[in-house]
Amino acid sequence: MNDMRKIERDVKMTDTKITARNVNVHYGDTHAIKDVNVDIADKTVTAFIGPSGCGKSTFLRCLNRMNDTIDICRVTGKIELDGQDINDKSIDPVQLRAQVGMVFQKPNPFPKSIYDNIAYGPRIHGLAKSKTDLDEIVERALRRGAIWNEVKDRLDKPGTGLSGGQQQRLCIARAVATEPEILLMDEPCSALDPIATAQVEELIDELRRDYSVVIVTHSMQQAARVSQKTAFFHLGNLVEFNDTDQIFTNPQDSRTESYITGKIG
């Protein structure tokens, strides 16, 4: 029995959710991402690590076309989500972003009630048919965000009144409320204290069961703790992409080794 389940899980691990081929990003004259090829697996946490300015956040923002909002930013190459080119003209970024949720570096709850924060996404996408439906969605999202017990008695209080760690978990709950398939996290713990960070990391591990999570992090320890796959970016290049264990114990590239041992970065 146990063995069978393990096999099943391994098969799932190899399901590819996102395929990126020859992705290049230019900010005006700056060549920020250079020919990046990467496969992101389903139900896996993939960490992007690298020194500041190496392009890991920029690449992350390509995956839900958030770079569209920056006038001078130009993305070329092919990014496929379930075999569908996300930069294709037929794809509406609005729809894409409902499929690919995002959590930002700084907790950014809307200055509305906790309930409305969560309900906003389902509302604009018309996911709830009735008020009770919406209540259920909100509760489910808050439970998944591991914050339900802390806020269930004050859903009508402003989300901005929560502590930093709670705000970030609220933002994660808000992102999962629209039932995305992929969750992008751009340094979600950099504004949090160690206790809140531990809570969020635990949550990320939980989320892996249902989603493919891509996390950008400055902290190599964090990458090692939460991810199964790690990609190392340096100066706009994807230097190495492998199982997290491999990257941290047996890096193939000398630059990766220098970075994880603290010689560069």
Binding site: M66, V94, R97, A98, M102, G121, I124, A175
Partner: protein, 433 residues
């Protein structure tokens, strides 16, 4: 080899600590001087403001009361007959009743009679007329009336006419002073709050002149201005800030809007005269046209304030909404605009306050006409507060001196009120990030 170690005879290089200490005194002195200049500037500003307000109050306060005369009026059937209503010799009836209160007055003497009539405001006879027309049974009866006295006697009562001045240089003659004092002794003279200042429209007679026409005119003009400038201003600001591509054209538009905010108001007046009145044939002196003109001036202010308020909304909120799959329009209208609203409203109110005090463009479109009734629609001829001040300041009657100051105080009161609302909105709704 180092300089410091072998320094016999050679002056030792001062350490950086000593250098800092030496420069510290000068720096502190400069800081002190800057502080004093700042305090001085604020003090001068306050003194100027104080002088302005106190001079306005000291002349304007007289206009907030009005001398009234209370007396018994016999509605003489010989002067007023039911058949001739609304005509009748109401002034004679008033003068005859008043003459009886004055000792040793021969009402058959024409000059004396005219003098007695002159104590009352010209408006008194119309007041009596209105009473009698409303109730013709009053004819033949004696009624008690409280009417304003003429401006000169009002001035006399308020001590603004010096009794020591030689008679020929004085506007009230000796016998008139005797009459007035007699009336005062009988307790017929009172000085209540001058409600007419707010309930009457303009008049040739200062004691009857009020600000109602100007207040109503300003209200219509500001309403028109708000209804036009607010949606247009916000609309352009949202488009320019959130949707317009950043290129040469949008830069050009931005520069021009900023320039528009600095165009002298008289130019807008000329433009309005040529376009609204000349081309479109809109009525002269109408608050609606005034409002259109003021809207032209207020719009750049609103656009600039709105853009600043939109810019101040942190990008993290936009990203949060975009990341959830909100469309651009949803981001703007559901998140950015509500958050920018306090700033937008503050800017709008300040723009409207500016418009309220604007005189030059209104003069050019004829809102300085002499109009004795309040406008009932924005298309009626009317004055506005600043133009009313302009008209009164230009009038020779003594009573208008204090009324001009009073009108300025009323205008300032409205401005302070509007700015207070703006501050309140900002304090109440402004969000700290």
């Amino acid at each position: 080899m180092t300089d410091i170690s072998n320094g016999a005879g050679v002056p030792r290089k001062p350490t950086s600590k000593e250098l800092v200490a030496a420069s510290l005194k000068g720096r502190r002195r400069k800081e002190k001087r800057l502080q004093w200049i700042g305090i001085g500037a604020i003090a001068i500003a306050f003194v100027t403001l104080f002088i302005l307000v106190s001079s306005l109050v000291s002349t304007g306060r007289y206009a907030f009361t009005q001398t009234h005369l209370t007396f018994e009026v016999f509605v003489d059937p010989e002067e007023v007959t039911p058949a001739r209503l609304p005509r009748g010799n109401f002034d004679d009836a008033l003068a005859a009743s008043l003459g009886q209160m004055l000792p040793g007055v021969d009402m058959d003497d024409r000059a004396t009679k005219r003098g007695v009539e002159g104590i009352l405001s010209n408006g008194a006879q119309f007041e009596l007329r209105d009473l009698v027309v409303a109730d013709p049974s009053l004819i033949g009866k004696t009624i008690t009336m409280k009417v304003p006295v003429a401006d000169t006697f009002d001035q006399l009562n308020k001590g603004l006419i010096d009794r020591e001045t030689p008679e020929q240089l004085r506007r009230v003659k000796d016998n008139e002073i005797v009459w007035f004092d007699a009336l005062k002794e009988q307790g017929a003279i009172s000085k209540p709050f001058n409600l007419a200042l707010f309930t009457n429209a303009d008049s040739r007679f200062p004691e009857l002149a009020g600000l109602k026409g100007a207040l109503v005119g300003s209200f219509w003009a500001l309403l028109t201005c708000f209804l036009i400038a607010f949606p247009l201003g916000i609309g352009s600001a949202i488009y320019l800030e959130e949707f317009a591509p950043k290129n040469k054209l949008s830069d050009f538009i931005e520069v021009n809007i900023n320039n528009l905010a600095a165009v002298p108001s008289v130019v807008f007046g000329l433009l309005a005269l040529a376009v609204f009145i000349g081309w479109f044939g809109l009525p002269r002196s109408a608050p609606f046209v005034g409002g259109l003109t003021l809207a032209l001036m207020t719009m750049p202010t609103i656009i600039i304030a709105t853009r600043a308020a939109l810019k101040a909304v942190p990008p993290s909120i936009r990203e949060a909404a975009l990341g959830l799959g909100a469309s651009k329009q949803q981001v703007v209208f559901q998140h950015v605009l509500p958050l920018a609203m306090p700033g937008i409203l503050t800017g709008t109110i300040i723009g409207l306050a500016q418009a309220l005090g604007e005189t030059a463009p209104l003069l050019l479109i004829g809102m300085n006409a002499f109009i004795t009734s309040a406008a009932s629609s924005p298309f009626d001829s009317s004055t506005a507060l600043p133009t009313q001040i302009f008209i009164w300041a230009d009038s020779p009657e003594r009573g208008f001196v204090s009324r001009t100051s009073a009108a300025i105080l009323v205008l300032l009161g409205f401005l302070v009120m509007m700015n207070a609302v703006a501050i309140f909105l900002r304090q109440k709704f402004e969000r700290k990030w």
